[in-house]
């Protein structure tokens, strides 16, 4: 099965992340103190989906060999925005949601325009724009406050048909509406190509600029979707620098665990989602083993180190040392 072998090589990172998550989640469920109910799954899903959305956003950018350090700030900004806009009757709520998503896409587009046309490095650009986004968030919510349409919040953080967490369905929708068309389109392939070898992509006449712009904009959109969810969970808007920074860093960790190469051109957002799920499971595992929450950052660090170490094990098999540097 030649096709199968190529498929496997292509998706090895994603499969590994999926395996890691299944393993960790199985341990969690096996040690759960009381009976496992749909509610246990619901809580786990809601916590994981938030990071998964941000990780997808990060993956889109990392594929182009860029990095988005403003993704957590976009999340917080859209959270604050949502706490103002997504309220009132059905029409106002709907318009509010559209407004929040548009604001996120606009933030991402701004990153894209500066990086493409200003020819600035993504890392510097997004540090700067991230500070701007956070500043705006502070202006919107100097102190935590606001509220959200309760019916909608309950529905989207609840279960559909009594079993399936609604948040997972939203994540699935994000994959089907944003990721799949992106990956299968000429634009998405140009994004992969730009990440793998930008000169070659240019010489091949591929639409590099449009591809990068699409990646950054879609990243903003997904971050805004995350911001909306954050608001649904917390029912408030808070310009928290701590959570902005940790979402940014965790998104990079999730992407790495998910097998997306930080050098660009390799990996998929699906891998990043499972990377986020696995990373998120660390806290749950500590909980079921009664470990003090103080240990959480340390364990997250250890798991991340282990994940990248296992990923680098292939280097032992390399018998031509020049291949180390590729």
């Amino acid at each position: 099965m030649n096709g199968l072998r190529y498929w496997y090589t292509e998706n090895r990172g994603t499969i590994a992340a999926f395996g890691l998550f299944v393993l960790m989640f199985a341990i969690y469920l096996a040690n759960y103190p009381s009976a496992i109910s749909a509610n246990v799954i619901l809580t786990a899903a809601n916590k994981a989906v938030l990071l998964a959305l941000v990780a997808m956003a990060q993956a889109l950018v990392v594929l182009t060999a860029g990095i988005d350090l403003s993704v957590g700030m976009m999340l917080v900004l859209t959270n604050c925005l949502a706490s103002w806009l997504v309220a009132g009757d059905a029409l106002h709520t709907a318009l509010g949601i559209i407004g929040v998503l548009a604001a996120g896409a606009l933030c991402g587009a701004l990153n894209g325009v500066i990086i493409i046309y200003g020819r600035l490095q993504p890392i510097v650009t997004t540090i700067a724009t991230g500070a701007v986004f956070y500043g705006l968030a502070l202006l919107l919510r100097p102190v935590p406050g606001g509220a959200i349409n309760d019916d909608l919040g309950d529905a989207l953080t609840g279960k559909v048909a009594g079993v399936v967490p609604a948040s997972l369905l939203i994540l699935l929708a994000a994959v089907l509406i944003v990721w799949i068309p992106f990956q299968r389109s000429a634009i998405g392939r140009a994004a992969y190509a730009a990440g793998s070898s930008e000169p070659a992509a240019f010489l091949s006449g591929m639409p590099i600029r449009r591809a990068k712009f699409a990646s950054y904009t879609a990243a903003g959109l997904l971050a805004a979707l995350g911001g909306l969810f954050l608001t649904f969970f917390t029912d408030t808007g808070e310009a928290s620098l701590g959570s902005a920074n940790s979402y940014t860093l965790f998104s990079i960790a999730a992407v790495v665990i998910g097998g997306v190469s930080l050098l660009g051109g390799k990996g998929s957002a699906i891998g990043a989602i499972f990377g986020a799920f696995a990373f998120r499971s660390i806290g749950d595992l500590l909980f079921v083993f009664n470990v003090d929450a103080l240990w959480q950052p340390l364990f997250q660090g250890v798991i991340l180190l282990l994940a990248v170490t296992i990923g680098a094990c292939g280097l032992f098999r390399v018998r031509n040392r020049l291949e180390w540097f590729e």
Binding site: Y6, S185, R189, L203
Partner: protein
């Protein structure tokens, strides 16, 4: 004669202060194969880059099919039917062969890429380019260089060009591939395509071209029908001076009895098998054979790059194990390797000529870890003079030098260490005739001074002209050793194809 399908007149282009093209003219007709000849730095590549929209000219006009055209990007030129197949591959390493072939115009269904159709069409394009053995689903990164170049050609053809440009597009191909590509190009010409190509291999030019145009120093020198000028005349036009002997004479002298380097039963993975040979000071030993038969790996194994090598290596008769390039270059062994790819393995392109010259010998020019500027300067000056490196100074980025001069820098940085054993991996690939000759002479001089040289080349003429002895590799083994008068094109080709020497007719595509 019908009028030109594409005409370029008075085109100039300068980079920084350097004039790459000066009022250049070119006329291309349909159904003809047109060879562009000239030394490196003659402006050939710039000319083709202007044609294919990679760079924009400072002055001049282009007409395609009677209409004036200007291309802002490669995509523009593609749309007009001008497609360039590059020497420096324009393939994206992490995408599949099929994705690369249809990089800019994939077949789509409902707005998404139709992978099945793409795979089918890619297989067809590969077959048309003469490489049906390549799997469209394979990742480009995993293919050897010669296969990648065939993918590049298939990609060019898949765009259904009206003018096809080949920029040194055969430089990494195996002899069998070149023969197939020549057939493909002739067929395309007969179908009415206009083909332009640059090659440093004169036998390919002779086998293919209908007409030739020579450029020198950015100017059009002359155009003529193929076969109306002799090799010597053509080379004189290219280098602008009288062409004498390309290769320095091989001295007939007695070599010392003891080899400086000997290896026995060297093996690595399945790429090298049972390699045994000895090398004496003052000797130039060639490595020949088809591309990818283990020549490159043999040099890497000697230089301590490969892990898990079996077999023995003796230096001065004493067994050594060479664990790393740092060990190989040390005083006990005194080895240097001029790598195959100067841009990635030989040079730090954005750094200055001075720094690049110093990298291999920093330990020799520093005291207690601090670089002695004076000593560095004297080493750098010596090398700039010894190899006559043409550069706007030692502080310009090495990437701004021409290919030939870059290669000289790679060689010079190792000569500072005065190596006893010099390994060279295809050092003249893609560089101009003048610099090639300088390198041949330098190698002979180093050998006369007592260096032992292993010289891998894909160019048979070089092996014949330069080497005292040639080992022909085939599937990782030494298939044949040719000494002195035995080193002929016939024998080299026969052994490379694993045929009995003296029984092959010269119709393999490269022999004529």
């Amino acid at each position: 004669m019908e009028t030109a399908f594409f005409r370029m007149s008075g085109v100039s282009k300068s980079y920084g202060g350097a004039l790459a093209l000066e009022r250049a003219d070119l006329a291309v007709r349909r159904g003809r194969i047109h060879a562009i000849l000239g030394e490196n730095g003659a402006g050939k590549s710039t000319l083709l880059k202007v044609m294919s929209g990679v760079v924009q000219p400072d002055a001049g006009t282009m007409h395609l099919d009677g209409r004036e055209v200007a291309f802002a990007s490669p995509a523009d030129a593609n749309a007009a039917g001008i497609v360039c197949v590059y020497q420096e591959l324009s393939l994206v390493p992490d995408l599949s062969v099929a994705d690369n072939i249809f990089a800019s115009n994939p077949p789509t269904r409902f707005g998404m890429i139709d992978r099945r159709a793409q795979r089918r069409q890619a297989a067809a394009a590969l077959a048309r380019a003469g490489a049906p053995d390549i799997d469209p689903l394979a990742k480009v990164r995993d293919l050897p260089l010669s296969r990648q170049q065939m993918v590049e050609l298939a990609k060019g053809l898949a765009r259904e060009p009206r003018i096809l440009i080949l920029d040194e597009a055969t430089s990494a191909l195996t002899a069998a591939d070149v023969a197939r590509v020549i057939d493909v190009l002739r067929r395309l010409r007969d179908e009415g395509l206009a083909i332009l190509f640059i090659s440093h291999r004169m036998h390919e030019v002779k086998a293919l071209a209908d007409e030739c145009t020579v450029y020198r120093n950015g100017r059009h020198v002359t155009s003529f029908a193929a076969g109306t000028r002799s090799d010597t005349e053509v080379i004189e036009m290219m280098i602008g001076r009288t062409y004498q002997h390309a290769f320095p004479a091989k001295p007939a002298r007695r070599l010392p009895a003891e080899p400086v380097l000997a290896c026995r039963d060297l093996a690595w993975n399945d790429v090298l098998r049972g390699i045994s040979f000895a090398l004496k000071p003052g000797e130039i030993l060639g490595l020949g054979g088809l591309d990818g038969q283990g020549q490159r790996e043999l040099l890497l194994a000697l230089f301590g790059v490969l892990r898990g090598c079996a077999g023995h290596i003796d230096i001065d008769g004493k067994a050594v194990s060479i664990a790393s390039p740092a060990a190989a270059r040390g005083a006990r062994i005194g080895m240097a390797l001029i790598p195959e790819d100067r841009k990635t393995e030989g040079l730090m392109l954005p750094m200055s000529v001075r720094e690049n010259l110093s990298f291999a010998a920093l330990d020799r020019m520093s005291a207690a870890g601090v670089i002695d500027r004076g000593r560095q300067q004297s080493c750098v000056d010596r090398m700039m003079e010894l190899l006559a490196i043409k550069s706007a100074g030692v502080d310009v980025p090495v990437g701004s030098l021409s290919g030939g001069n870059q290669q000289k820098v790679v060689i010079a940085k190792w000569l500072i260490r005065q190596p006893r054993i010099l390994l060279l991996s295809d050092p003249t690939r893609g560089i101009d005739v003048g610099t090639k000759q300088e390198i041949y002479q330098l190698l002979r001089r180093l050998a006369d001074e007592g260096a032992a040289i292993v010289f891998h080349s894909t160019d048979y003429d070089e092996l014949i002209g330069c080497c005292d002895r040639v080992l022909v590799l085939y599937e990782g083994r030494i298939k044949r050793e040719l000494v002195g008068k035995e080193i002929t094109e016939q024998n080299l080709i026969a052994s490379a194809l694993d045929l009995p020497v003296g029984q092959v007719s010269p119709s393999t595509g490269v022999a004529t």
